[in-house]
Symmetry: C2
Subunit: 341 residues, 2 copies
């Protein structure tokens, strides 16, 4: 039995981590937690050759240099433009044998418990081999309104059928999910056989499947890089794998995953993924904090002196200064600095 | 009758306005309110030759370059070291005719209403000519605990006897002063004849008076500069004019002054001295504020983006970043950056 193929998606822009994350060097390629970049850590989690085959990376041309410097030996599919996850995964599926089990991983998430990840990956791969399209159901720790949810159905061997996918809920709904139980977060990690995925895509999004197939047939190889045909790829209407396939198929399953996952979706999420001191403060770079609690400081050089604040994030990076409440951090991506890069 | 002689004291270090105010270029020499520096504005308030004689500046050697670039024609007494206000004023008094009426002005305060200042100066000078040592009693607008207070006594022509000076009170005491009435802030502005001041100093601090006299006798002139003798000056025990003279003399008077005065003693005070927008925000430099109220941003270049904050001061200056609540701003002078300059 051949190893699981990690399919690493490098699509996200991460504008909500501006000014640290920039269009030219976005979130996956930054060492936000620990020494490795999020992309490197994603690869490291899938590096055990007893379980995993070599990875296949899908990335935009703009970030190819980052990919190749951080993963020099990886095979890369270079997207001519961003067309969301359904197309990105289809590109990978078409470049793999039909019976390959793909493990689709976003490259900009943090997972604290790598052993739990490996166990969930093994369970997901087992279900995938049986023909299921498997989502990771991330243990829901709080009533987040920024994630989609998965309601689990009847038990399978090592997982559950998906009863339904739920789009981002409002707070009251999210709270009822936690109270009711049986709901987990949809973390954007999936496992399926390449042929299963392509069959489902063909059934539910035939035009998309056809355009990707043509882009691959007309594509060209360049050592470890593969370049799909730009004209064919341009015809694609971008859709997420969730919408195009997972919510449509009757073969959706989920495996529970309680693995210290975070999408590092904004500055407070990054603060929480890092270790805080006794006052809840998290400091990277030169700083002096007086009478502060739950303050995050991230500076690429200038000293940051802070007095009397609670639950505030301060970022100094590349000549930009951001100061936001934790609650306000959702709006970072809409700031002029983040939008007009 | 000759004009009032403005005696401009340039002693303050202004560490509570760090990182904008630095040891090498402290508060008086910065354009903190409007286009002029506080020092220049102090001179401008005393520029009407119908009322005022040319000024006499007392400054430390370290700041002589700032003084001479901002006031090229002023006579300057160059203090060999800082010995507080009683000595600084005595230096000036000894360099003036005995019957000169001195108007002692700190160089780092803001006064919004210059006409009210001129009226108070005229009233103070009239009392000074009669032999009174006159303090400006600043209209107390709030129960500040950072200022000394003056309790007024019986009425004089154009002012009052001082019943007593009160050191910085606690909040409850300050509130009782405002409720009771008859108290004003001691703003550090004084008027007296040179000979009156020297007589009182001789009476209450004979050693200090003697040391200053010797420093002047052994001093040397250098065009518009006068250099007191460093060895004699070094013997002085520095004391404020308040302690050494005003609280000791039986000839203390005060003139009420309601003139939009601020000592710009910390960042929120500067915020309040500047004009705020409809949300109470005060911005100097490139900035974007979202959902903010009563936020002050001061940047010497980098853009500052702020979300969701209330009553916070953010200063970016010379590679230092300060973020403080208004209440915490009292501690700015104790930050490592401010202390270890």
């Amino acid at each position: 039995m051949s190893g699981i193929v990690p399919v690493i998606l490098c699509g996200g822009s991460g504008t909500r981590l501006w000014p640290r994350s920039r269009a030219a060097k976005p979130k996956p390629f930054l060492p936000l937690v620990g020494e490795s970049t999020l992309f490197e850590a994603t690869l490291l989690r899938c590096a055990d050759s007893a379980q995993f085959a070599p990875p296949l990376v899908v990335a935009g041309a703009a970030h190819l240099a980052h990919v190749e410097s951080q993963a020099p030996t990886a095979r890369v599919i270079v997207e001519p433009e961003a067309k969301n996850t359904a197309a990105a995964i289809a590109l990978a599926a078409l470049r793999l044998p039909g019976d390959a089990v793909m493990l689709v991983c976003p490259s900009d998430h943090h997972i604290a418990d790598c052993e739990a990840f490996a166990r969930a990956a093994a369970a997901a791969a087992d279900l995938a081999r049986e023909g299921w399209l498997v989502a990771f159901g991330i243990a829901a720790k709080s009533p987040e309104t920024g994630f989609g949810y998965i309601k689990r159905g009847e038990a399978l061997d090592g997982g559950y059928r998906v009863e339904r996918f739920v789009e981002k809920p409002d707070l009251a709904t999210a709270e009822s999910f936690l109270a009711e139980g049986g709901y987990s977060w949809n973390g954007g990690l999936f496992a399926f056989r390449a042929d299963t995925y392509l069959e489902e895509l063909e059934t539910h999004r035939p035009a998309l499947a056809q355009a990707v197939r043509e882009a691959v047939e007309k594509g060209r190889e360049d050592d470890a890089r593969f370049h799909p045909d730009a004209a064919a790829f341009a015809r694609i209407e971008g859709e997420s794998v969730d919408y195009a396939v997972m919510e449509e198929t009757s073969r959706a399953a989920m495996v529970p995953a309680d693995m210290g996952w975070s999408d590092i979706g904004n500055w407070p999420a990054l603060r929480d993924a890092r270790g805080a001191d006794a006052d809840g403060n998290v400091v990277h770079g030169p700083a002096e904090l007086v009478d502060c609690r739950n303050v995050m400081v991230e500076s690429d050089g200038p000293r940051v002196s802070v007095i009397g604040l609670d639950d505030v994030v301060i970022v100094v990076d590349g000549g930009e200064v951001l100061v936001t409440t934790a609650a306000g951090a959702q709006k970072v991506g809409k700031l002029s600095g983040a939008v007009n890069q």
